[in-house]
Symmetry: C2
Subunit: 320 residues, 2 copies
């Protein structure tokens, strides 16, 4: 394995140029009701309105358009519980190349449908990290496709970091930002961009208590890989990546861990007040903010609503 090279602010700026023809500039929404409840000024960056319904398209698109023509022809491959897979398939389609997506059994139906709709080729595997990686390696051997890892990938991090460039242009003076933490691609890219552009702003990660390996890892100062995820946040079940852990540690990213009940309450609140159909893995940022209200009191806080691919047949806050 080659030494990992983290993206710089310049890489993130190049990514923004690379993805501009394909990605959407997502809106920022505000809600006086939620501001009153939080005691802070909240700016919701609507990445659930990104192409494919999640921020993942930024990183995938940057990766796909970073390939040279020879690499591109052989296609791309990844493993993903859903949003990254759909994003890579969509991104591959913008370059008319094949995308192989390894999906764990038990992935959300709405997300699998998204992948297929985007033209991705599905490969199923058992729902654990080892099985995912083995299935990817097999596709690579057979097709010569380039692996685009969902988060431990510098091109992907750079793509996700473009959210910060955009958000700071829309809302220049933020005191803090909160992003969801799964494998750490979004938080890594955002940490690099945010601290380069605004060293005084703090980046927070919001993580489900039932998959809090990033929280534990940063507490102990070493990467924990044996957490068995149990959370409704299906997009945040991945284990924090090795380069991601190192970056979050170096950037002093503080992780706030929240239980699923708080996340569901926040999701309902977002649906009712923001009128945005976000998924649980997005709602975790609002849950984290409300759980640490005193921490953010009076501040201007950017919150990344990361995705909106929720299964409407299984809305978890509707009692049956």
């Amino acid at each position: 394995m080659v030494k990992f090279e983290a993206p710089t602010l310049d890489d993130i700026r190049s990514a923004a140029v690379r993805i501009a023809p394909h990605a959407r500039v997502t809106p920022v929404l505000c809600s006086p009701e939620l501001d009153a409840r939080a005691g802070a000024a909240l700016f919701f960056k609507c990445e659930h309105l990104q192409a494919g319904g999640a921020f993942k398209f930024r990183g995938a698109c940057n990766a796909v358009w970073s390939l040279d023509d020879g690499e591109a022809r052989r296609g791309v491959v990844t493993h993903s519980s859903g949003n990254h897979g759909a994003a890579l398939a969509l991104a591959a389609r913008t370059r008319k190349i094949p995308a192989h997506i390894v999906v764990p059994e038990g992935a959300v139906a709405a997300k699998l449908a998204n992948i297929e709709r985007a033209g991705g080729i599905l490969h199923r595997c058992a729902p654990n990290q080892a099985a995912r990686e083995e299935a990817c390696a097999k596709v690579q051997r057979e097709t010569g496709a380039t692996l685009v890892h969902p988060y431990a990938d510098s091109r992907v991090m750079a793509g996700q970091g473009t959210i910060v460039l955009e958000l700071l242009q829309q809302i220049p003076d933020l005191d803090a930002m909160i992003v969801p933490i799964g494998g750490g691609g979004l938080s890594s890219g955002c940490a690099i961009a945010l601290h380069a552009l605004n060293p005084d702003a703090r980046l927070f990660g919001a993580e489900p208590a039932g998959a809090d390996d990033a929280f534990q890892s940063l507490q102990r100062g070493e990467r924990i890989t044996d957490v068995v995820p149990h959370t409704i946040c299906d997009g945040l079940r991945a284990t924090i990546g090795e380069p991601n852990f190192a970056l979050l540690d170096a950037h002093h990213v503080e992780v706030i861990s929240v239980d699923d009940d708080a996340t569901l309450a926040a999701m309902r609140l977002a649906w009712a007040e923001l009128k945005q159909t976000i998924e649980p893995s997005s709602a975790v940022v609002l849950a984290a903010l409300l759980a640490r209200r005193e921490r953010f009191a009076g501040q201007r806080v950017g919150l990344v609503l990361s995705g909106g691919n929720v299964d409407l047949d299984a809305i978890p806050f509707i009692p049956r």
Copy 2:
């Protein structure tokens, strides 16, 4: 009763200036998935993201700020199944004057909560037109408040018409627009503005089949007032107003009637694809478009998503 004077384009432009300090410029959202399904280019004007969660704030705000100081001090009164009531209460608060809201029994809980949260004073009445009007008249006699009718009011129509000014600035070249029809305030204001600015564009009204008094009235050439509404679209149960009917007739507005099943399917589609938590009374516009796909094929169509105050405890497309 004084002769009704319909607003002109100038009145609508003045309304835009009057409400600008208080109302939001709402975003326009697009969805390649919905465009593909419709075979047309759809532009969703997000009035569910307006202050109070519905377009109604525009008309209410224009009415409140049209009053002279003496009138304003005595407050305003209206009857409303919800969104207009909340809007008037919010608008009154921007001028620090009292708002009396007559609400029919059976109104959606989320909407009543909105009214109270905005500082409106609730007066309950039986769910029929006569009871609403009598309760309003009583409040007027007792307080001297000015009646701000939900739709048969020139100031209200002018406020709603500002949607068209905004939308045509955001998306200049529309072939058609579809708005929901209840009492006809939104459609009247939009018809005046749209035809003044773009005489070639067609305005369509979308109306629930279970409350299709506007459809029947325009078919027969006379206003029908004896339809007993039975529809899940709680914002569209009102009887078409007298001046509203005359305006829709004069402007050759075509009404498309859709049943509740089609509206619920469209609502689900909007939640899943647009990620917008709109209410049934909004979804009716998408249902109308999909029901008349051939009518809009290849066109650029603006659709007004009128409100997002849905009761999340009673999401009707979730089977229990």
